[in-house]
């Protein structure tokens, strides 16, 4: 049984336009007509871009890849909310049925010193890559697949680790945090590894190195507002930040190098 179709939408878009990192940007206004409520938000932007191309104007640049909500590539501030008004949803999985006919939608890129704008709504998130490079790995010998029962892992640890591993690195936590802190992202990576036996040997140096890199990238500190958790499309909990804090405290007191 299908719901009666919602009325097609006329929208007023106010979008951040910036041609390069080192150039000043500005908001520009666009009108869109006849938008289906069943479209995804990115499909709505595709329609806008088609319209802009036909008018001879540069299309709005935005990141996207899988459009299935799992790759973490897309992401933008929609009316002041990371990935828009829906919960546990990426921008590509946000549908236009969440908006009303005649709405004004303000679209901005993630704002953080560590995420410089490359163009329009695309930001450079390689700061996340460098945090992972600093310690988000395990050093193991590769080769034959190990015996499945060689390392017994309690089910609750597996689940806890996978909850953290659900992080798709989209940057919504940074965008939503009033301090532009990447603590939820960093905590997810630390918590992912530390709950598994394979991650235990490097737990001390990992947390110290990742926090050091987090700070060097210019992210802010956590003020425990839990806005990151609410904005996270993968529902990563702030309890992982508490685990990160415990790990950091232990590492601080016991690190030998």
């Amino acid at each position: 049984m299908t719901n009666p179709a919602k009325k097609r939408l006329s929208l007023h878009l106010r979008i951040w336009r910036q041609s390069r990192t080192d150039e000043a940007g500005e908001f520009r206004d666009y009108q869109l007509q006849d938008i289906s409520p069943d479209m995804s938000f990115l499909e709505m932007l595709d329609i806008l871009n088609q319209q802009l191309i036909e008018q001879g104007e540069a299309p709005v640049a935005f990141d996207h890849d899988c459009r299935e909500g799992i790759c973490g590539t897309c992401g933008m501030m929609i009316n002041g909310q990371a990935h828009g008004p829906d919960h546990e949803t990426t921008t590509c999985q946000l549908h236009m049925r969440h908006f009303n006919d005649g709405d004004t939608i303000i679209i901005e890129p993630w704002r953080a010193r560590a995420f410089p704008v490359l163009r329009d709504l695309i930001v450079n998130r390689s700061a996340f890559d460098r945090i992972i490079q600093a310690g988000g790995y395990v050093s193991i010998k590769t080769g034959q697949a190990p015996e499945g029962n060689a390392n017994l892992i309690p089910q609750q640890h597996q689940e806890g680790s996978l909850d953290a591993a659900a992080c798709i690195g989209c940057g919504a936590c940074v965008a939503a945090c009033k301090n532009a802190s990447a603590m939820l992202f960093t905590a997810a990576k630390v918590s992912h590894f530390v709950q598994l036996p394979q991650g235990a040997p490097e737990r001390t140096k990992r947390v110290l190195a990742m926090i050091n890199q987090h700070d060097e990238e210019g992210f802010g500190a956590c003020t425990n507002t839990s806005e990151c958790e609410a904005a996270c499309p993968a529902a990563v909990s702030v309890s992982h930040i508490a685990r990160l804090n415990r790990e950091y405290l232990k590492a601080m007191l016991t690190a030998t190098d």
């Binding site: 603590m183 802010g220 956590c222 425990n224 507002t225 309890s239 950091y248 590492a251």
Partner: protein, 254 residues
């Protein structure tokens, strides 16, 4: 000790220090409020408490050193953290909205959004409080020879001071209502069984602190005669006109 300084100077390490000093200051607030509540018992009980406290010289010295250190560290790190947090955002959003469904009040007026500002108000209040009660700065001879109860009465009956003390107490309550729970999270003390209890205890503590401390200036202001009649020209009053035992006659009607 380089390892310790390095570890504590990171964003997580600074929050540890903020949490530890904050929890210590919350403990101080509990003791301070408990002592102040003796004002409601009467001048004699409050005076005995004050005298007994001041007779413990070594304890008092140690407490003051710890308290001032905690205050200075907490305030210093508040400035450092706020500066780096503001820099981290770099460009602010045209529009910002919360996605938290459990918000009781809007995010822009929530205590956690006001930690630096409420802390700054508390700092100003603290400066006034210390200059009044500890250094007796600006009171001339009015406070000379007063009992501890009488001194509190004179200061709290000053209309300007009553406003400052009431607002300062409310700001303090707002500050700790987020700060207490936040300190537990910053120290990694988190468990689904207890998180709700910690959160609501923190809010309750904020209310107790705000109402408890604000009650003194409010009740004094409501029960006393207008300041002009009880303490004419407080600051300029000659010592000869001061009635050292006058406040004893104004026991609180509780």
């Amino acid at each position: 000790m380089n390892w310790l300084m390095n570890a504590l100077s990171s964003s997580v390490g600074r929050k540890f220090v903020m949490a530890l000093t904050g929890l210590f200051l919350c403990l101080f607030l509990v003791i301070h409020l408990a002592g102040n509540l003796l004002l409601y018992v009467g001048p004699e009980t409050y005076g005995n408490y004050a005298h007994a406290l001041h007779e413990q010289k070594a304890f008092l010295l140690l407490s003051q050193v710890l308290l001032y250190s905690a205050f200075l560290l907490h305030i210093f790190l508040a400035f450092r953290l706020t500066a780096s947090n503001v820099t981290a955002r770099f460009v602010s959003y045209r529009k910002k909205a919360s996605k938290r469904d459990d918000r009781v009040v809007a995010s822009v007026v929530a205590p956690e959004a006001w930690m630096f500002r409420s802390g700054a108000i508390v700092l100003l209040f603290l400066i006034v409080h210390l200059t009044d009660f500890k250094f007796e700065f600006g009171w001339g001879e009015v406070l000379a020879g007063q009992t501890p109860y009488g001194k509190a009465g004179v200061i709290l009956r000053d209309f300007g001071r009553a406003i400052i003390y009431a607002l300062g107490s409310v700001a303090l309550g707002v500050h700790v209502s987020h700060g207490l729970a936040s300190a537990f999270q910053s120290l990694g003390v988190s468990h689904p069984k207890y998180n709700g209890c910690v959160k609501w205890s923190s809010v309750a503590f904020g209310w107790i602190v705000a109402v408890g401390f604000a009650s003194f200036p409010v009740i004094w202001a409501l029960t006393a005669a207008p300041p002009s009649q009880t303490q004419p020209a407080t600051h300029a009053q000659p010592a000869s006109q001061v009635q050292p035992d006058a406040p004893h006659t104004h026991a609180l009607p509780i």
